[in-house]
Structure formats: C-alpha cells, structure tokens
C-alpha cells in the first residue's frame, strides 16, 4: 500500500510545470550572478526611476548585490511561484470537479478533507522543492564569480519565497471550492494576486497607493528584507497562519457542499447566476 497516494499523484500531475519553473529559476540565478560583475560598475551611478523603486524593496541601490538580486530575481520569481500555486490549487479542486475526475477519488473511503489536505501537501511540497532546489544554482555560480553576498543570506531569501506562495495556494484552494467553475476561481485568485503586486510595486512611487502598500502580502514577503536582515520569523508565522486558516476554511466548505458531476454542472452554473442576481439591487 502506497503512503499518501493522492499527494504523490498531485505531485506527478504538476511535476512538468514545476520542473519548467525550477529550470527557469536556475537559469535566471546563474545568469544574474554571472552578469553582475560586469554590470555593477556601470550600475553604480544608475539612478533607478521612482516608479521602479518598488522592485528594489528595502535595498538602496541596484548596484549592490542585495539590490541587484532583489530587482532581478526576488522581485518577480515569487510572482511565478504564486501563479503556479494558484493554477495548481484551482485545478485540483474546481478543475477536477468540473472534469468529473474528482468523483474517482471521493468515491473511495477517504474523507473529503483528507483528499484536500493530500492535494495541498503535494503542491506545497513542490513549491518548497522548487525554491530549495534553485539555491544550489546560486551557490555553485558564486564559486566562479565575484558576488559579495553570503550563501546563508541567499538561502534565507529563497526560503522566504515559500510562505507567500503557500498563502496564495490557500487562496486558490479557497476560490476553487467556493466558485462554480475553475475559470471564475482563477479570475478571482489572479485578480487578487495582480492587485496585491501592483499595490506593492507602484505603491512606492504613486502617492495614492503608498498608504495601502502595507496591505499587500508582497510587501511583507520582500526578498530584500530577508537578504539584509535574515528570515522575518514573525512575518513567516503570519503567512503560515493565514495559509492554515485558508486550508481549514476550504476544507469546511468542501466537506459541506454538493459535489457536481459533469452532468449536473450546468445546474451549478444556474445556481451561481442566481446568487449573482440575488446580490443585485
């Protein structure tokens, strides 16, 4: 008997996308560290426009290793991981339900919450694996180039990408069990992700957004903070707490609601339309 068969299956389902993202992360890490020595002299006097300062996080200059790595890697790689988390989470709930494949798992003697938990575990493990496996690329490249930043700090920043990705994994999961189709779940989750990212990046330059910048999760997961000050444990714990709350909420909703088949799906859409109509004045 295989242990955690649904987790293993979930990891297998999303392994291609995870490998593609990991290879991108490794390639970008190698490229960033390789070009830094030839660029940092010319970047020394470069004044980054205000509109782009958000990408530097807490770093003062793009010419420093911290600023360079924040702008070139830690400003956008988390976005890729978060997008992966949302896509994978919605596909394992709303996606499998719409296709009818969820029936196959739910007809077995395992509680719905276990199905959900095993799926989450699989995706969460892939996210952690992608982050951790990208670290050796930094470590090895540093052996050949002059990049004055300790491995521990880089590892800290790499690990710092995991909690925010897990938080959006929880959001995708929640959207997947609430909304009637995968498309609507994706729209809502991606909408929130993009809004949060825009607020974070433009908030430093746009006056109107500066006051709400702290509401963005990307602000609290800023890679430069981890590179400069180490792992922000209190922030990590908050992210983990939110992720756990999302998972519990998703499990409670998933336990209680009807599971539709491809036959009954149109009825659920009708139900959703009625809910929307009911909210109109």
């Amino acid at each position: 008997m295989t242990r955690l068969p649904i987790t293993r299956k979930t990891m297998h389902d999303h392994s291609s996308a995870a490998i593609a993202i990991l290879l991108t992360m490794i390639a970008v890490a190698v490229l960033d560290l390789s070009i830094y020595p030839s660029y940092h002299a010319s970047l020394k006097d470069f004044e980054i426009p205000d509109a782009l300062k958000g990408f530097l996080g807490g770093a003062t200059s793009i010419a420093t290793p911290v600023g360079f790595l924040t702008a070139e890697f830690f400003s956008w790689v988390p976005l890729m991981l978060v997008a992966f988390a949302i896509v994978a989470a919605t596909s394992t709930t709303a996606g499998d339900e719409a296709s009818g494949a969820l029936d196959l798992l739910l007809a077995q003697p395992v509680a719905r919450r276990r199905v959900l938990a095993e799926k989450v575990l699989g995706i969460a493990a892939l996210i952690a694996a992608m982050c951790l496996l990208s670290f050796p690329a930094f470590m090895v490249t540093k052996l050949f180039v002059d990049f004055d930043l300790s491995n521990v700090k880089i590892l800290t920043a790499v690990v710092n990408m995991i909690p925010i990705s897990w938080m959006f994994l929880g959001l995708g999961l929640l959207a997947g069990v609430i909304f009637p189709t995968r498309a609507s779940a994706l729209t809502v989750a991606f909408g929130l992700m993009i809004a949060a990212y825009v607020i974070f990046t433009l908030g430093s330059a746009v006056e109107a957004l500066s006051s709400v910048r702290m509401a963005s999760p990307f602000y609290w997961a800023d890679g430069s903070h981890a590179l400069l000050h180490g792992l922000p444990w209190e922030r990590v714990l908050v992210f983990l707490g939110i992720s756990a709350a999302e998972l519990v909420a998703a499990a409670l909703i998933f336990e209680r609601r009807d599971i539709m088949s491809s036959h009954t799906w149109p009825k659920r859409l009708t139900w959703a339309r009625r809910q929307v109509q009911a909210t109109r004045p």
Binding site: M1, T2, P5, I6, K9, H12, D13, S99, G100, A101, D103, L104, L105, L106, A107, Q108, P109, V110, A111, D258, I259, S261, S262, H263, T264, K267, T270, W271, R274
Partner: protein, 341 residues
Amino acid sequence: MNVTVLPWRAHDSAVWQAATPGAVHYASPEPGAARERGLMSDEPLPVPISMRGLTKVFDEQRAVDGLTLDLRGGEVFGFLGPNGAGKSTTIRMLLGFIRPTSGSASIHGLDCTRQATAVHALTGYLAGEVHLFPHLTGRAHTELVTSLRGVHDPEPAEELAARLDLDLTRKAGAYSKGNRQKLGIVMALIGAPPVLLLDEPTSGLDPIIQHRVWEILRERAARGTTILFSSHVLGEVEQVCDRVGVLRDGRLVTVEPVADWRAHQKRRIEVTFAGALPAPGALDVMGVREVARHGPTVDLEIGDDVDALIKALANYNVLDLRTYQPTLEDLLLGYYRQEAT
C-alpha cells in the same frame, strides 16, 4: 449491544470501524450464510440500500422526488429511466456527493450523508461517464484505488482487467470510451465491496464485453453483493436484474420483479403481407392487438403468447415478420397511458 465484528476486506479499515460504533457488522457478504454460522448478532440486518422520501431539488427543479425504496442483500436492482429521470442524482446522493433536500438514504445502516466515508468503504461506484486522469496508466489508476481502499492484493484487479480485455499498461488519455468504461468497472469492483452502484455500466462496450460484465455482476450478486444498476436499455436490465424500478421525472413509477415485468411487457410485431390484408381486428386474438397499419404492413402488440398469432397468420400469405423488443420510450408511454386512464 453485543456486536460481533468479523470484517471482510472492504470493512477492514479503521474508518469503517470507527465510523460505525454499535452498528451490526456483517461477517461476510452473505448475510444468510453468516447468520447460519452464528457469526452475526440476532438483531435485524440493516438493509443494504435504503431510501426514505429521498428528494433533491436543484434550483426549483425536483431532480429526485420522494424516493422510497429498499434493496435486498444479493439483489441486482435495475434502475430504469430516460436521461434526466434522476438516476444519477439518486446514486450521487447514495454516495454522499450530493446532500438530499429532504429524506434520507442509508447503506448497510450507515447514513449516506453523515457517514459518507464509511459508506464508501462498502460501496463500489461507477459513474455514468467515466472520467480518468489522462496522464496515468490504467495500472496507476487501479493502484491508486487499491491503495485508497486499503486493499493489499492487486491480483484481483489484474484478473478483472484480463477478463475484460483491458490493457492496463496504456495511459488513460489514449483509451477509447469502451476502455475507459472497462477501467471504471475494474476500479468499482476493487476490494469486493458488498454494495455496487453502477451508473450505466455497459455503456460504450461491445456486446461480448457487455456479456462478460453481466456475468461478473451475476457472480458478485451470487456472493451476496447488492447491486444498483442504472440503465436505459431494457434488454440489459432483463438480462441481469432481479427487480426493476422505473424512474420518471424523479419519481419511482413502478418496482417489480423482472419475471412479472416480462409477463406484462408487450412486444411489437410487424407483419408484411404479400396478398390481401386481414380485415381490421381480425388478428386481435389472445393477447394480440393491432396498433397500426401502413401499406402492406400491420403493426401488432403482443404479450408472451405468440402461438395464437402464428395460427391466425397461417390463413394469410405472409411476406415478412419482424419482432421488436419494446424500447424504454414504449414502456414509459405505457405508464403514461396507465396514469391517464
């Protein structure tokens, strides 16, 4: 309450034992034999499948309306009805996938909504449309189900696949509809669950494999498995089932043993004459009724006894004679007529 727990494979899980405190447990899928061997308590056995006023309303539409029905141990029950009659919705309520709007359903005494996980340990399910994971092989599917059901021996699944001529090494994405259906059947039978809920199990299968599936189901029923078998093919239900229930617009129109069912079913016979046609009503002998005539052909409706008709036809020059089994539509029309009168 003194309870004897001697589980068979499908019950061999902590889930089943934890979820059913105080329930009377079967020692084998053959309650009668188990009772004789003294392996069970003296309390009445829970009905394998029981529905009481089961109702589901979707968006003001009553998909299932006040269904009350008990299935006996080892019975193959044919659930007949056109598409949209409520067959699949009923099965999904039995699995706890859908919560009833009102009423209740239980399997071996376990509430299908509140104790769904324990119900699943006793139930093999085949969906009306089998959806698989396209990137997994057939064997990966059976291994997944085997693992989730806590079954340790993969051999029976392999044997079943061999009986159905199913290649488990291929990826499910490359399977034809027939092969998907075969894999769905194999997965439903893994762990020999004492209850099978099969939604149109032979849909998309060729006639030879259909017969093998019927054979497998009869074997399971002989070992005490209770089978709820939905279909819209009358002939299939007649071949396999002990009792038949007809569902229309979510309501159970009739429930009767297949033998009784056959007795009052009318077949249709088309007789084409070479010469003069019989006078209207001339063929209305013993259980035969003329329903239409077009050109040289007369349509007749007939019960079990064809002898009187053959003798009546001997007086005419018959060019061709064709018999038709009634379709589900014919049957439902019959019930509409009955209700109207």
